[in-house]
């Protein structure tokens, strides 16, 4: 197990390096720091002086990979690649273009993100699985057919519709909850209910249909017939045998997203005014703040790789035959 984890960590390094090289190529080579300065200064203020000043203020006045002017080791380390890209490996995110410390922002903003994403994840998983089990229990009946039609219809509706519709109905028309905003502490729940509900409804079509397909495949297998022949009740077969055996594909899709819950959802957070990492990212994209976008890309990849490792570990828990060697 320890051996396996060590190998996975070593394997993660080239992947993260690849991610860094890719974003570095996009943001520094296709787009030069000069382009970046021009965008931020605005068309009216572009002079050679202003560009140089902007670059030195934001630390972009260095060569890409090799600094011929520096001495010794600094020839290789006093470069943009090391300063802006490799430092991410020690979680040194640097400052955003407006001068604020990115690491501090992340530390503050991950809590509101988590407050929305975690309940959505847990309640969602339970609700989708229960709905799928319900459909499978009544398989072949009108309830099942109706449920599948409902799922296909729900997944054909744009996610934006759920957000806008939810805000309009629950916020504006019925005055159940504030339309947007967030408040830490005990009052937070008022702001959490609507985003969570909207995300749940938005995801039910896709997920329930997927889980239903998994269960239907499992239920046609021989061991299920054996279990029923032994006189086990339908419910027991469904929950103990079918659910248990469908666990591996379910875990594959589910566990990998757990670490990324910190990063929140771009759409939900920006529509509901949640000051989390999702809205942070979307603001950065709209303000073309590449320092933040780069940090979020790195963070996202790191969390994804952690998710992959967690997925493998969860297999050993769901299926005793799986051993991590």
């Amino acid at each position: 197990m320890l051996n396996y984890l060590l190998r996975r960590v070593l394997y993660a390094i080239p992947i993260l390096l690849g991610v860094n090289l890719l974003t570095f190529a996009l943001f520094f080579m296709v787009n030069t720091p000069d382009d970046m300065a021009r965008i931020h200064l605005g068309a009216k203020h572009v002079t050679a002086d202003a560009i140089t000043r902007w670059k030195s203020e934001h630390g972009y006045d260095k060569p890409l990979f090799f600094n011929a002017e520096a001495t010794g080791v600094e020839k290789a380390t006093d470069t943009l690649f090391v300063e802006k890209s490799l430092k991410l490996f020690v979680l040194d995110f640097g400052a955003a273009d407006d001068g604020r410390d990115i690491a501090r922002e992340i530390g503050q903003r991950m809590w509101p993100s988590l407050a929305i994403a975690l309940p959505t994840f847990i309640v969602g998983l339970l609700a989708y699985l229960s709905f799928a089990l319900l459909l499978v229990f009544f398989r072949g009946t009108a309830l099942d057919t109706g449920g599948v039609i409902l799922c296909v219809a729900l997944m054909s509706i744009s996610g934006l519709f759920y957000v806008i519709g939810g805000q309009y109905l629950m916020g504006k028309l019925w005055h159940w909850f504030p339309i947007s905003g967030y408040q830490p502490g005990l009052d937070a729940w008022k702001f959490m209910v609507m985003p969570v509900l909207v995300s749940l409804i938005g995801g039910i079509g896709d997920s329930s249909r997927f889980y239903r397909a998994l269960f239907i495949e499992e239920i046609g297998k021989d061991y299920v017939r054996t279990a029923r022949a032994k006189g086990l009740s339908d419910l027991r077969v469904l929950f103990k045998h079918v659910l248990g055996n469908a666990m591996i594909p379910i875990l594959t899709g589910v566990v990998v997203v757990i670490p990324r819950l910190f990063m929140g959802s771009l759409i939900i957070e920006s529509f509901f005014g949640i000051p989390g990492l999702g809205s942070y990212t979307i603001d950065a994209i709209q303000a073309q703040d590449f320092a933040i976008v780069r940090s979020m890309v790195f963070l996202g990849s790191l969390l994804y790789i952690i998710g992959l490792v967690l997925t493998d570990i969860s297999y050993t828990w769901a299926d005793p035959r799986v051993r991590l060697e």
């Binding site: 080239p14 992947i15 993260l16 690849g18 991610v19 890719l22 974003t23 996009l26 943001f27 296709v30 787009n31 382009d35 970046m36 021009r38 965008i39 599948v148 296909v152 219809a153 997944m155 054909s156 509706i157 744009s158 996610g159 934006l160 519709f161 806008i164 805000q167 309009y168 504006k172 249909r209 239903r212 397909a213 239907i216 495949e217 990324r260 990063m263 771009l266 759409i267 920006s270 990212t281 979307i282 994209i285 709209q286 073309q288 590449f290 976008v293 780069r294 979020m296 890309v297 996202g300 990849s301 994804y304 790789i305």
Partner: protein
């Protein structure tokens, strides 16, 4: 009136796509294994209805892809001057809708404008009331903020949605096919390298990778603004860039499926036999592997299509979608979103965009189910 046809890049690619599909269909027209599943799809009621709906959408999209510019009236003998506004065959058909522009919002089939204005009566007295529309009762879905007909906007959005769904696939397929099959068939180092590539791409959060690439393209377009003759050409290039980005980042899912399938196929007797007879790798891949994974490719293509149409709306909202000046479902929703806070509510623009999108995506989803049932022997009778 004299016109000059204009071939935008996306139009050319659509023609290329159509030609490719036509050639493939012509080549396979006598092949029974190819025809049987399609006959099954078309004979089912669901398959026929959804195919009909999709072909109406495709027809509108194609009409909207035949572009031209009008010649401006000028002195005879002078060099021809053309309008900077690029129109399409669909615009020409919809001219009655296109030119009936009101001042601002008006509700569906309304006779008066949405907002009150100060009007000077015939006797010179000023009063506030809803001014009458220039074309009362003709706007089936109302008009938008600048008075354009919403039905016209919805019909124009179809091309953008279809383009994103189809061109992305066109760009994604070569990557997925070559890399996925190569990884599975050759194994070893090649497999390692390709797996590394797609794990790396997969590990980056999708929207962020797309956003990063779109931001870069946007800066490039802004710095080379002089390269584009018309606004239509510029937004067209941006749309293509978006498709390219979605394609280059989106091949990993299909590649993984193809890798697994190729891994399985290469151990089967017919491939072993071909290898024993000394058939080259290239020939084995083309003659024996490719035809046996085509069902996976087709299924994935139709399933991905609806997701891409939906993704356009979300990406445009994030600000990394199509050009803000381009008519698309995403931009329609984006423009109308804030108007829900008004009193009375401006709902028609949102409703029209969502309904047109819903019908397209639902038809695509149901059609995809039929395709999967017909082509994938394992899924028969499951969903």
């Amino acid at each position: 009136m004299t016109i000059k046809p204009v071939l935008l890049w996306s139009d050319a690619l659509i023609l290329l796509l159509l030609a490719t599909v036509a050639v493939l269909v012509w080549l396979a027209r006598k092949n029974d294994t190819f025809r049987a599943p399609w006959r099954q799809i078309m004979r089912s009621r669901m398959g026929a209805v959804t195919a009909l709906i999709l072909s109406v959408y495709v027809g509108i999209g194609l009409l909207d892809s035949l572009h031209y510019v009008e010649r401006l009236p000028g002195e005879p003998g002078q060099a021809a001057q053309y309008s900077g506004e690029v129109l399409s065959a669909l615009d020409a058909l919809l001219t009655p809708l296109r030119v009936k522009v009101e001042k601002t919002y008006s509700a569906p089939l309304a006779t008066h404008l949405y907002a009150k204005e100060t009007i000077t009566g015939p006797d010179g007295v000023e009063y506030r009331d809803f001014p009458p529309l220039k074309y009362p009762g003709t706007h089936l879905f109302g008009t938008d903020k600048v008075g354009q007909d919403v039905l016209y906007l919805s019909l124009k959005s179809i091309r953008t949605g279809l383009l994103i769904g189809s061109l992305t696939t066109l760009i994604m397929l070569p990557f997925a096919l070559t890399l996925g099959i190569a990884a599975g068939y050759f194994g070893g180092r090649i497999d390692d390298a390709i797996q590394y590539l797609y794990t790396t791409l997969n590990s980056i959060p999708g929207v962020l990778l797309i956003a990063a690439a779109v931001l870069v393209v946007q800066v490039q377009i802004e710095t080379h603004a002089d390269l584009f003759e018309t606004a239509a050409a510029r937004s067209d290039v941006r749309l293509l860039a978006l498709c390219a980005i979605l394609g280059v980042t989106g091949w990993t899912g299909l590649a993984r499926l193809l890798r697994a399938e190729a891994l399985k196929l290469r151990e089967l007797e017919f491939v072993q036999a071909a290898r024993a007879f000394g058939v080259t790798d290239a020939r084995i891949l083309l003659r024996h592997l490719l035809p046996n994974v085509m069902h996976l490719v087709l299924i994935t293509v139709v399933i991905d299509f609806s997701g891409l149409v939906l993704a356009e709306a979300v990406l445009s909202y994030v600000g990394v979608g199509v050009d803000p000046g381009m008519i698309s479902f995403g931009n329609m929703i984006n423009g109308a979103r804030l108007e829900l806070a008004r009193e009375p509510v401006v709902w028609w623009q949102l409703a029209a965009a969502f309904v047109f999108m819903f019908v397209l995506v639902l038809a695509a989803n149901l059609f995809a189910d039929q395709v999967r049932d017909a082509l994938d022997p394992k899924s028969r009778g499951r969903a």
